[in-house]
Amino acid sequence: MSERGGWTRVFRIGVGARHLERDVDQELDFHIAMRIQKLVASGLPHDAARAKALERFGDLRTVRDSCLDIDHQRERAMRRTSYLSNLRQDVSYALRTMHQNVGFTAVVLLTLALGIGANTSTFTLIDALVLRSLPVPHPEQLVTIGDPARVGGLSQGTPRNDIASYPLYADVRDQTRLLSAVYASGRAARLEMLADAGQKEPEHPRGRFVSGNYFAVLQVPAALGRTFSADEDRSPGAAPVIVLSYGYWITRFAGDRSVVGRSVRLNGVPLTIIGVAPRSFPGDIVGQRTDLWIPIMEQPALMPHAPALTDRETSWILMMGRLRPGVTLAQARAELTSIENRSLIENSPTKERASVESNVREKPVQVKSGARGFSYYRRLLAAPLFILMAAVSIVLLIVCANLANLMLARASARGREMSVRMALGANRARLVQQLLTESFLLAVAGGALGVLLAVWGSAALIALTGGAQVDSKLDGRVLAFTAVLSLATAVLFGLVPALRATRVELAAALRAQGRGVSNAERGTGRFGLGKMLVVAQVALSVLLLVGTGMLVRSMQRLQTTDIGVARDRILMVEVDAQRAGYKDARLVTLMREMLARANGTPGVVSATLSENGIFSGTESGTNVRVEGFTAQSDEDSSIAYDDVGPGYFATLGARIVEGREFDARDNETGARAAVLNQTAARFFFPHGSALGSHISSDSLTYEIVGVASDIEGQDLRAKPSRRVYIPVFQIPEKPGHFSLEVRTSGEPGHLGETLRRSLASIDPTVLLNAQTLSSQIEDSISQDKLVARVVSVFGILALALAALGLYGVMTYATTRRTSEFGLRMALGAEPSNVLRLVLGEAMLLVIGGVMVGMPAALGAMQLVKHQLYEIGLLDWPSIVVALVVLGASAALAGYFPARRAARVGPLVALRDA
């Protein structure tokens, strides 16, 4: 070719915007210069030739610009194509590598799936309970009034503002100007439903009493039939209808469209099903199932003996409203607080007004964003879930460290390939991209497997929460979380090895011909980094193991702590006599008859009763005046109280410290008597005996006849509060709900059914529910058990992964030092010396990890100390156990490579090198 016009190749066309401009300028300059030369040759003077040349060329600037335009476009297209073809190349290269190392790939995918799956499962629950908004239009406009966790709350006595009475709700509804509407929602305790003709055994759906505007405020349309309208609020009993939830319609009525218009009996009252709520709306109570909604005006019909619509002393309602456009939460809070306070103060008896006023000032009503609905489980589980999230994040970090180590080993095995390719001109970014592609592919596949695992994992977690009904569907947010997590994982475990693998000193690597590694690399190279990763894994494991130990021990303390009663021998029977219509004299007769029946049952040591029971979730409080004690504040005169039957303390197993216990003489005709617990006695009578002094409440005065040891009544964690006990037969209004406490001679669980049947034979319409005290207590610490159990599982997983990492690194290190060991042995070292040498190095890594991990563990425990019960921040048993377990696993992980090193014969070692 060079014959024609002397053409020879000089260099390839450069790339990049600056190159493009330079090239175009040079090309056009050349043209002009050639033309000038030609014209000069034909006889024109230079200047004229130049002018002529430019004239013949035309508009230089336009030509230059349009050339550049075309070139830029072309450049972009080329870059896109080359990027895509590189990507295709990298992916197929990565797939080939993965396919060639099936074992490696399987291990990587499995650990990734475990790590990502655990994180996704936990996040699913956090998302469902803590983060997600109600599936209604404009959830951000919703506000809750009251304590959103008290979804099953019911309180009789002093009016309150964490849950409201119906009249208080009516005041708020009628007076608010800043909310466009407010609905009421209250629990419907144990419903009995007969839905089919001839059905004998009633079912117990979970229902809520709601005001007629419930669906209107939430802006939820009916999926079938209609929802409630304002008609349902007109007058009690006027609209005997219900709306079913979609889930209940499907499971109980098999999605039968003809249920609309059908009549069911709830607590004996015929109600017509008028509609089904949409599938997307499971209710406003997050974490609990709602089967059906009943107009609140039906409450008197369904629960005839509880005046819950008119009584200002029956608090059971939570409210939710919508902000008018432009109104802020703070403005609404101010308005609602003043409405509630005014209503509570104005409706209180004159003599209590002062104390009500100070109460509402101290604890104003809670007005919060209602976007996430009401939830009991959110408050219960949020802290445990975040602890769990921390634990599974640590597991994932360990997984990453492990994988980074594996990738590093792989990359260094390919060190020569890399140096050859770089010597041949491959650029480093390109190689890093290629190595990262493999990490990304692994992470994406691991993430996908993790999502599958999470479907199962979140269901298992929900089962462990003991009762929460959580919609654990994998929605877009969860999938986005997993995707981001997987990509971050890939960067974490892929980037450093990829950078390390391509940072090869060319000459050194090429010189080291047959040997995989150069000496220069050993000191600071992959070996050092691998060790650092192991130290990090050990540190993270220490963190998790010490945490696990402390959580487990805290749970054990909770399970065995002395609560002041014989917790293993008590059976409790909840009695609801109110619904069956018992009150006053008939109620007293029933109580006495039940006590007699229980006491006569074989296997029963003694039986008593109380209004609240213990660990039942109900609690009463009151204000008292105590003879000889001057209250400094309102708080000073407040006291928890319970009205109890004869033999209460002996039956439960509490000690009488002073005076006497209640007995048969403390009846309607006996002198009014009271027993204080020790905390109350010490508080009111710091210097002398409480016996013989008087205590008055609700204008009745009782003589203190005894002091009993403290009984932890509701919460194992809480400090015992001041408490006064009054004989149940001496209070003016006997409780329609009460609890029988029965001390048994054997395992109380066996007696439950016998006793229930024997009591039911007195009057089958009275609702009974028997449970052992120990199971009630277990329920109250279920979230502690959940956290301890699940964190233990992840602690063990972390330990196994860290041991695996240590094993990998030590194996790798000893294999590379085979010749060194051979030499040592040739020079007279015993196998035991080599064994000790290698094990010593493994232990050094462990010690390094412990030094980093211990302070981190102690810091982390500081963060969760409110979850721990009677566990100090330096809990030596937990620490020692963690270290022993870790040391043992590390020794095991280090032993096998060490033994292999020690067994190598000197000749073999030297020859192989």
Binding site: R4, T8, Q26
Partner: protein
């Protein structure tokens, strides 16, 4: 021929460039030179208009460019035909041929054809 249509002109110019390169690589000036000689300087409005066309053909992959040394030892950008460009030239020529024949038949017709 100054009023020649631009669209027609562009297609024709493309063909001329491809044609100019059939004998081997040329730089832009060489292409201009050839076209001027071959057409008797009738077709180029300004010599500059050739360059966007060259770049466009390069982007289309019909020709490719490489820097080289010119006959007077200067850096110059040389263009040469690619295989696609060669094929394009063949189909372009035959289309152009048909177009010219059809157009000239019409333009030279003695009278408008009568319908029976």
């Amino acid at each position: 021929m100054a009023d020649i249509d631009v669209g027609l002109m562009r297609g024709t110019l493309d063909l001329l460039i491809l044609k100019a390169l059939t004998w081997g690589p040329r730089h832009g000036y060489g292409v201009v030179d050839w076209i001027e000689q071959a057409t008797g300087a009738a077709l180029l409005v300004g010599e500059g208009t050739l360059y966007p066309a060259l770049h466009r053909l390069e982007a289309q992959g019909w020709i490719e460019a490489e820097w080289g040394l010119s006959e007077n030892n200067r850096h110059a950008k040389f263009y040469k035909l690619t295989a696609t460009g060669r094929a394009q030239l063949r189909t372009g020529l035959s289309t152009w041929q048909q177009f010219v024949e059809a157009a000239s038949r019409a333009l030279h017709a003695g009278a408008s054809p009568r319908t029976a």
